[in-house]
């Protein structure tokens, strides 16, 4: 720890001892301030240098972080990668919707068709089956689109991983979620919204049937074993 010069402290103490008078003038206060400033000069100089070095270090760290974040190219992610992935996903939804519509329409026509004339019925079914095959070609295109979205996610993942590695950033597990996140999570929790489960993760229709069957409590209990 930096200490004030002993002689200067003594001078300051002496001044205060000598001036125990009731009426202090402005001059006295100024003189006291001058002595105090002198006494603190060395301390402040040393302190300034330490502070200057510390601030310099922080500045360099911030500059390095800015460079690393710049290498992440967040602008490009925001303006190109994310919108492009969004467009691909929208196109997938549109394509699957259109294909589903075509397939269902063909099936509905077959379902409604009059089967009394066998030849006419066969022709109608053949034509509609071809439409169904054609509609199924959406799978190839959506597969390619999904591939592009996966590529985008991988690119973002690589950049973020590189950044966190370089900056040695650990997950801040105690970080408070935003209000919006909290509200979303609360709704999901209260309304038990998990969404579709992967194969083998959720209960099967047989499990559900068991819960609605006569021995339902036992079957429910089995599900918790």
């Amino acid at each position: 720890m930096i200490k004030m010069d002993e002689a200067r402290v003594e001078k300051l103490a002496g001044y205060l001892r000598d001036r125990r008078i009731k009426d202090r003038s402005v001059g006295d206060v100024m003189a006291l301030a001058e002595i105090m400033a002198e006494a603190l000069q060395d301390f402040m100089q040393t302190f300034d240098q330490t502070l200057y070095h510390e601030l310099g270090e922080i500045g360099r760290e911030i500059a390095e972080m800015k460079t690393e974040i710049g290498r992440l190219r967040p602008g490009e992610i925001r303006s190109a990668h994310i919108p492009e992935a969004g467009r691909e996903l929208d196109a997938i939804v549109e394509a699957t919707e259109a294909a589903t519509h075509t397939i269902m329409e063909a099936a509905e026509v077959i379902m409604e068709a009059d089967g009394s004339d066998a030849d006419a019925y066969k022709n109608l079914v053949d034509a509609r089956v071809i439409e169904i095959f054609e509609a199924c070609s959406f799978q190839d295109i959506t597969g390619q689109r999904i591939g592009k979205v996966v590529e985008t996610l991988q690119a973002i993942d690589e950049r973020i991983s590189r950044l966190t590695d370089r900056l040695s950033v650990a997950d801040f597990v105690d970080a408070e979620p935003s209000e919006e996140e909290c509200a979303r999570e609360k709704r999901k929790r209260e309304l038990i919204l998990h969404g579709p489960q992967h194969k083998g993760e959720g209960v099967s229709q047989d499990d559900v049937d068991a819960m609605f069957g006569p021995a339902s409590q036992d079957d429910i209990d089995k599900l918790f074993d």
């Binding site: 309304l191 038990i192 579709p196 559900v208 609605f212 429910i220």
Partner: protein
């Protein structure tokens, strides 16, 4: 005794395609009087306008989910006894238990087939 297929059925789902699938399957089973709603709020309005013999509802919908709809239906004396089948991709055990506690008559996990739908309708009406 066979299930009365002339009863009006309300299908609730936010996906038009799923409503269309269920409507077609019901048609195959002989149910021709089918109305639709795209979420719980709309379904409640329909239920107050008309007496339905059966409600077939999805779970995950905005703004009112099928689970909320089920609880609302069961808490309203005028429509509280309407048979209710949940048809959903929500397949966690806690979902099934919650729906059962709330008074659902049966529960179908998506994807499902015509036979499953028929089986559950028969079960609800004691066939």
């Amino acid at each position: 005794m066979a299930v009365d297929t002339s009863m009006p059925v309300l299908v609730v789902d936010d996906y038009k395609t799923m409503i269309r699938i269920i409507r077609n399957l019901l048609k195959q089973l002989g149910f021709n009087d089918v109305d639709e709603a795209s979420d719980g709020t709309e379904a409640l309005e329909r239920l107050k306008e008309r007496r339905y013999g059966l409600v077939i509802s999805d779970w995950n919908m905005e703004p009112m989910t099928g689970y909320e709809l089920l609880k609302q239906v069961r808490s309203d004396a005028s429509i509280g006894k309407t048979p209710f089948i949940m048809v959903t991709a929500e397949s966690k055990t806690e979902n099934v238990i919650a729906a059962k506690k709330a008074g659902v008559n049966n529960y179908i996990v998506k994807p499902f087939n015509a036979q499953t739908l028929k089986g559950k309708i028969d079960a609800v009406f004691g066939e």
